[in-house]
Symmetry: D2
Subunit: 333 residues, 4 copies
Amino acid sequence: MSESGAVTPGPATPAGADRPRYAYLGPAGTFTEAALRQVVSPQDAQYLPQTDVAAAIGAVRSGEADYAVVAIESTVEGGVTATLDSLAGGSPLVLLREVLVPVQFTLAAAPGVTLAEVRRISAHPHAWVQCRRWLAHHLPRVVHVPATSNTAPAALLAGRAAQAAADLGFDAALVPPTAVDTYGLVPLAVDVADNATAVTRFVVVGHPGEVPPPTGADKTTLVVHLPDNEAGALLAMLEQFAVRGVNLSRIESRPIGDALGRYSFSIDAEGHITDERVGEAIMGLHRRCPHVRFLGSYPRADAVAPTVHVGTADADFVTAREWLRAVRGGRAT
Amino acid sequence: MSESGAVTPGPATPAGADRPRYAYLGPAGTFTEAALRQVVSPQDAQYLPQTDVAAAIGAVRSGEADYAVVAIESTVEGGVTATLDSLAGGSPLVLLREVLVPVQFTLAAAPGVTLAEVRRISAHPHAWVQCRRWLAHHLPRVVHVPATSNTAPAALLAGRAAQAAADLGFDAALVPPTAVDTYGLVPLAVDVADNATAVTRFVVVGHPGEVPPPTGADKTTLVVHLPDNEAGALLAMLEQFAVRGVNLSRIESRPIGDALGRYSFSIDAEGHITDERVGEAIMGLHRRCPHVRFLGSYPRADAVAPTVHVGTADADFVTAREWLRAVRGGRAT
Amino acid sequence: MSESGAVTPGPATPAGADRPRYAYLGPAGTFTEAALRQVVSPQDAQYLPQTDVAAAIGAVRSGEADYAVVAIESTVEGGVTATLDSLAGGSPLVLLREVLVPVQFTLAAAPGVTLAEVRRISAHPHAWVQCRRWLAHHLPRVVHVPATSNTAPAALLAGRAAQAAADLGFDAALVPPTAVDTYGLVPLAVDVADNATAVTRFVVVGHPGEVPPPTGADKTTLVVHLPDNEAGALLAMLEQFAVRGVNLSRIESRPIGDALGRYSFSIDAEGHITDERVGEAIMGLHRRCPHVRFLGSYPRADAVAPTVHVGTADADFVTAREWLRAVRGGRAT
Amino acid sequence: MSESGAVTPGPATPAGADRPRYAYLGPAGTFTEAALRQVVSPQDAQYLPQTDVAAAIGAVRSGEADYAVVAIESTVEGGVTATLDSLAGGSPLVLLREVLVPVQFTLAAAPGVTLAEVRRISAHPHAWVQCRRWLAHHLPRVVHVPATSNTAPAALLAGRAAQAAADLGFDAALVPPTAVDTYGLVPLAVDVADNATAVTRFVVVGHPGEVPPPTGADKTTLVVHLPDNEAGALLAMLEQFAVRGVNLSRIESRPIGDALGRYSFSIDAEGHITDERVGEAIMGLHRRCPHVRFLGSYPRADAVAPTVHVGTADADFVTAREWLRAVRGGRAT
């Protein structure tokens, strides 16, 4: 385990060869691991910790893992750009499931250290941002030592006695609550995140194949490039959904990367790809937009069924199609 | 022939039994007859003159005629309400073809009458309206005697000598140019319509059955009731067309008749019912609107092909459908 | 009084010189007169009967009358094209008030005539249309003799005994209920209109000047030409209203008259020209459309106040304007 | 200078008291410094280096600095969330100017180190992401040691000889080209960013006060909260711009932070707050949205004037306003 938090995923043991392999942002104690535990227990799967989101997703692409569990959106930071960007390009992957994990932080140290002694705190930049107000109030002069993950500093602290911890360049760390015990640390302050209701949404990423069947409360994730950089193009894209009565639960702009002002959009639409209204809407996108990538239809974590507007149920589409067929055949008007 | 212009259509003669029967607003000399001549010659069809548009359309419904030729729109008067309303209700009929006829009027009288002597002019109210400025300028004190058709007064004048014409209640008539010779009248003034470029659009009405095949420059006529009387409903209806790139060449509101403020819309959309974009648009109407009636797809008289916007050609729909099928089957993203 | 229904408006008597002069479609007994009576009693105004709507409106333009009362819309026929077209062009006039009149018809004759004897019925074409189903059912063989007004045949019948009525060319007439007594006729059948709830909307037309003050339940009438003949232009026009939360209670297309497919729109918007949202919407029309004519703001006959959507009350506009002024002055963000 | 890249801004010297104070992400050699040099030379201003974007913006709020220069958007990473979020909340600040800086990276080391010897590279996470493909190709086994800024590792390397550099935990760094000389380093590879055309947009942040005057090629930046989390609300917001002919050059969604699915939008609109069309559009936002913050109107770095659509020039608004005033006063129609 290096100080940069690099983690080498272990090879699948023979005994585990028949269990599905899940790559995730490790090591033990991360929020991502908490998400993974919601998906599958360590007894039923091989947990393959990775150093970052791109590596976790890459492990699925390379065949090293069957699935990856990665954060995709948080109430505080918004879309996780590494995840959005890794999924938007490269060989096709799809989302199979989503899980929600509450986000809290504990300020922890090696045994023997007190809050008053803390001068330098190691924290992932996102963790630092989420505790900024608490830190400004309680430890206004503390210095931020960046970490590559939420648990990397915990692992480092775990290896040192208090008197030696200063050699690490920091004397405390912002860590997920589950990491305190995992690494034998001492909590100096709990629930230090500024936003008490923060939650992060994680997704299970896998290979395209069978789309999970519709449950009645599903979500469809897409990446869409607009035909040009006019405001009118975004309006036209949204109208493709609106005219079929499909609501969007998330829309994130991401730069395409080739010039300022060129955006792609990461979208969550309410409904399943097998819904008639969703299918027709995304066919509309496919016809009008230079690039549309389907990133999966999967059950919503909150199990909330979408509002189905008048005339947009599957049966309405079927009836309309039969009517059109009759009209085209001269059998109806 | 009565003064009200009533015309009794003759029974089909045995000799004509194999020729198609066309009902139209007669008698000889009307603009409608001029339209009918563009459609089929008197040698190739039975011409069945009718007293009004409703009767012509009714003759098709009753089986008395195979087709009707009726005016549907003029540059001066707009939609012909009798035609629009007859087609909007009752048993289903469809439009099979359209023809355009320039509209001009001649002020005519029996032989021996001069312009200076004219005091009372018989004219169909529409003809009167279309010559109002000419009349106000040249014959400011003349009185309007209404007629049920453009040729009824010509027929009456034809039966009288000049000295006896006053008994008719009028001494001149506004008639189509072709009626002057037909009825042996004398032109007092030609081209008296105020609008020199006026044209009337006529349609051939028949029974549903085979829809005329697409020519690449077609028109589709519809009657649509909106879900409620909000402005938003009209906007939503127009968006069903706009989002599929279908332009409208005509839109006419007509009261539904049960309350003020409730409208149906008579619409001409560019394109043929077999076009993918037209089909999807009108399926959208069918899903959202309480009533949609298809009134036919037929070649445009002006043979102008519609602009096909990016992503709205048939091939784009086919490609999008294949892509959706692959996506739903887990074979693409 | 001629058989064509022509009516010469009488000169204002000296005694009446100080009472306002109202032109209307006369003579006594018309629906328009019933509307006029709702507006002002004959004791308080000079009633100036006219032969048609264009003449009534023309009387205001020429100075012969102060006001005109004319039908503008009916549940059966829709917009009254003569009224819409007369107001759309010519010197500017405005609507000052609207009144609603139920539309019913009585089949009446001279004393001594029975229903069974009726062969020919005189009726204004609109009246004929509105009673078509009743006529088809009760008098299937009757012939229509067109009249220029609803009361012209009543006046003619009033001058003849039953035995002489046939000389008129008809033996009964469809007339407004009030015309039966006025002209000393006998009702053969009452309430013969097919639509028992039919109503016609009349408006009082006058010269621009003071706009009637807002009542909280007002209507604003406009004529708008679209920038071109695309469907998109209609959509854009409707969005000018929608984005300011202004609903439309009526929209009628009328041909501009110079070519097929060129339309103007006659619009009733909910609200008063002094409402902020209405003002901004019609400024939007003025900026984008080649022609906008304001035809008045006036109280709704039904006194129904419009729904005011969030953010579209006058106070919202005032607050927004003050905020913008502060922002522009560098005093707010 | 600490290993975490923390920089303490120096107090304004007496000699510098009359020069404007600019806070920026320091120390010397950063891209931000390159941007600042485009704005004002070190002779004409006090450069106050800060440890991060939030600190730079905070220095303006606290009065420690007059202005801040911060990155707001890059072609690779999109919107700079720290900047967007700092500006969206807190006491009001505005953008006064924008400058563009090409983004390139040099892989540099202390003198004596060769490319073949590099095992661990220190880099700001954004720099690491932007050079990922180059690194994967040329140094596939290299380990990432995160840094808090692009120049922090350069400063560290500057203090060590090659033989001692390993003690830092890394032996090379990804740094801006200007940092190579500044810190006395040796370039191992130049132009190692994957995207050769990458550019970052920086803005000058200051206190509200006088808005920079319009130049004809301006941009207006806004933060907008939607009334609710429906897709329809975003559509409605975009229509506020579209109906006034205002194009958007950037739109970024950011989580509001209180719940998943609640977004605010950071928007750049083409045009200046004093433009009539921009003013009316943002008044529309102010009326309909729960929160709108004006973040300034300032000249576009590319000096491209916006397309002014028909009917949306200032003169069109002025004419429409005068017309409305006349209409309301009864002096026009």
